[in-house]
Amino acid sequence: MSPLLDIEGLRIDIPGHAGLLRAIRGISFSIGEGESFAIVGESGCGKSLTAMSVLGLLPRSAVLSAETMSWKNQDMRMFGRRQWSHLHGLGIAAIFQEPMTALNPVLPIGDQMIESFLHHRLGNRRAALSRAGELLERVGVVPVERRLRQYPHEMSGGLRQRVMIAMALMCRPNLMIADEPTTALDVTTQVEILALLKELQADTGMALMLITHDLGVVAHVADRMAVMYAGEIVETGSVASVLTRPAHPYTSALLSCLPTRGQPLIPIPGVVPALIGELQGCIFRNRCGFAMPDCASQVPEREVAPGHAYRCLLARDDSGSTTDSSAAPLEAFQ
């Protein structure tokens, strides 16, 4: 079965005053129908940029190139304005980090919800309103009648994110991109929203592309994941495999940053390098505890298990990783 979204060798360059910023350097991933895929990384690693490139909403100055970039086997780079407009809402819908600002403050919720439904000619205004009502009911924003007439500032952040989710579902998309959907919310609301996303995914059979910095969220929601660092995917595989048997030193380091009972937090030393000019070798080597001279040249891609790959000189056997503390059981996140 061919994947819904297939990205290979994606590169994004952003020209700036100090030089060309090589923000994304040759990443590949694919998302199948109904699958939920997470991209994890620190802020600034390019995960949101990746999401925006899939949405076709990169900043104007950004330069994109890729070996493959296809949606249902169609080349997305050949998409014209009409095809993008069709893809948005109908094919891919998105929810964003800041529910406080992602809704237009001067328009009622109802108007904003039915906008894409009407634009894509899925029905008349009454049909649109009734679908909006159903969805609000489904995501728990009630009483529906009153909520449809309310403005965003009359709702809490959690409610607005629910509205965003309902709005994204209006046109029954095949893929929902959720860019840090719970980061701006308080912890209890986070759990509710994640549970809701998971339920809705099961109900509708849509695929989910989750962008987050939070390994806990990944463990909770995703099937497969990719770990991004400084514009590259350093490790990818099933969530269960990556979280229990992290192979890349960066993944291990990320895992040891998590609070686990009885163990001290280990921050990753050093800073992310400036992504300007020619970059060779492993991008993590200046912060890596296992760095060796050869890290500055070629870095091979290795497999831990089928579907679980990482980029590093160090070979890992199937049984474990170098730092024992990082091998946290999957249940710890849930």
Binding site: H17, A18, G19, P273, A274, I276, G277, L279, I283, R285, N286, A291, A296
Partner: protein, 293 residues
């Protein structure tokens, strides 16, 4: 592993480079600089006395037109005065009015803005009220009426314009001060026992100075335009002192036959005001982090 950390230019050099790449800034700076030099050295540059009448050479056209003479490059006006010399001396009036008004209005407006923005509460209500009252008064009309009663002179114009056009400084400085007021370093100074005036002068002023500079250039342009308008309406600089606005008023009677008498000083005003505005815009662009406009 320093080879992946590409070196970034130092911020100061980056700013210099950006300033030199900013065409508008360079253009504005150059024109303003040249005008200032001309105004300062007017007696050495001007070929004739700007107020000496020579009725024998009335209404000579500029050099490039039929009948132009090389000793009167821009021709003469209806009283036979050398137009180039009057233009050169006229720059003095524009610049003096521009700079002095900027200083007076800047002092009043900034003081109000600092006080309102820093103290907040009731004090800020009063400052806001004063600004509102000022904004509600038609500036140019009040200036016209007052100057007509007091009598037009350089000092009157500067004083009246300075006492009137402080509103933008006040509005901008007030907002900027409000933004800085709650910063940690202000709180630290307060805890250390610094007095309010000391904090405003030593902690807040440096942080809002770039806003004041931008407004100052833009308001200087406004003041130059206002003086020209007042003088054009016959209620500003008195004849025979050369002022560009007055030159246009005098040349107006010859608009049909000798339009250059209006064009020449008009273009001078246009260029000077354009240059000052460009400088102000440039300063604003350069004081913003990513060179956004």
């Amino acid at each position: 592993m320093e080879e992946i950390q590409s070196s970034l230019p130092a911020p100061r050099r980056l700013r210099m480079r950006r300033a030199l790449q900013h065409g508008g800034f360079i253009f504005g700076f150059a024109i303003l600089f040249v005008t200032i030099v001309i105004a300062i050295f007017a007696p050495f540059i001007a070929p004739h006395d700007p107020i000496a009448q020579n009725l024998g050479v009335r209404l000579l056209p500029p050099l490039w037109m039929q009948g132009g003479r090389p000793d009167y490059l821009l021709g003469t006006d209806h009283l036979g005065r050398d137009y180039l010399s009057r233009l050169i001396y006229g720059s003095r009036v524009s610049l003096i009015v521009g700079f002095s008004t900027m200083l007076i209005a800047g002092a009043i407006g900034s003081a109000l803005g600092f006080v309102g923005g820093y103290y907040g509460g009731r004090t800020d209500d009063i400052v806001t009220y004063v600004i509102n009252c000022r904004l509600s008064m038609p500036g140019l009309l009040v200036a016209l009426a007052v100057i007509s009663l007091v009598g037009g002179s350089l000092a009157t114009i500067i004083l009246v314009l300075g006492l009137l056009f402080w509103d933008r400084y006040a509005v901008v400085v007030r907002t900027a001060t409000q933004q800085v007021r709650n910063a940690d370093f202000i709180a630290a100074a307060r805890v250390a026992g610094a007095s309010a005036p000391w904090i405003i002068w030593n902690e807040i002023r440096p942080n809002v100075l770039h806003h004041i500079l931008v407004i100052a250039t833009l308001e200087m342009a406004m003041a130059i335009l206002s003086e020209a308008s007042l003088s054009f309406l016959g209620l500003g600089i008195r004849a025979p002192t050369p002022s560009w606005g007055l030159m246009i008023a005098e040349g107006r009677s010859f608009l049909f036959a000798k339009p250059y008498l209006v064009w020449v000083p008009g273009i001078a005003i246009f260029l000077l005001v354009l240059a000052t505005n460009l400088l102000g815009d440039g300063l604003r662009d350069l004081s913003q982090p990513e060179g956004r406009r």
